[in-house]
Amino acid sequence: MVEQALQLDTIFHSLADPIRRDILHRVMECELSVGELVEKYEVSFAAISKHLKVLEKANLIHKRKEGQKYMVTLAPEALAEADKYLEQYRQMWESRYDKLETILKEG
């Protein structure tokens, strides 16, 4: 449980940066090489490389080697995890209000 919470924090942190969000949108549509990603932004190769490391650590992207190039794709399972977190939050409130309604019915 704690481990899962830490992982979610990593995911949320990863998504907080606009460039990282944009990278995710691009690799969601098609697999891109690191070089192709660098060309799309007015920042250095090192900066993009750093963003990719953050995304990889959060398990938001998959990287694979193809010849001399590294190819990047989206890892949708991590986002499903974040959706699950929101659903748990909703259920917490649902059970709270269910209790409230029961009490007011009896009272």
């Binding site: 409130w93 709270r96 209000y97 409230l100 009490i103």
Partner: protein, 167 residues
Amino acid sequence: MEKTKVVKDLEAKTLTIEREINAPKQKVWGAYADKDIFAQWWGPEGWETTVKEFDFRPGGHNLYAMKCVDPKQGDFFGQESWAVMQYQTMDEPNGFSYKDLFANPDGTPMENMPVVNVEIKFIEKDGKTTVATTIQANAAEEIEKLLAMGMVEGISSTFDRLEKLFA
């Protein structure tokens, strides 16, 4: 059926939880304003609420603990967390606002934990009351989380569109 909705507003950086309760708003107000009633329902399923201090008026506060008493909830079982509601404005029976803080059992706020502004509105129609709880995050990381949730939603819906395209 899901009766509780969580609505995200990324512009305002808020989360709003909406739920219709089958009771008039004066009664719903009472469930927040009365110490004993509040303690009966505030803890979610499997969590018990103990209220240590309770002063429901603007400038007053409520110090309470929620403890998980359900062995089926795994790691949460036995966990206890203390919190303070610092009541700000009140407009009986239409709504009130408070600051929500993580606290130590003596009521002092925990350091490095987010302080969240909460606004509650009671809207009555045909004898039923919609409770709208709007949570405004102050701490930077909370706002990041809210933004991330919006991002997640954006991505999920794009996936849905992709799936339809390939169906």
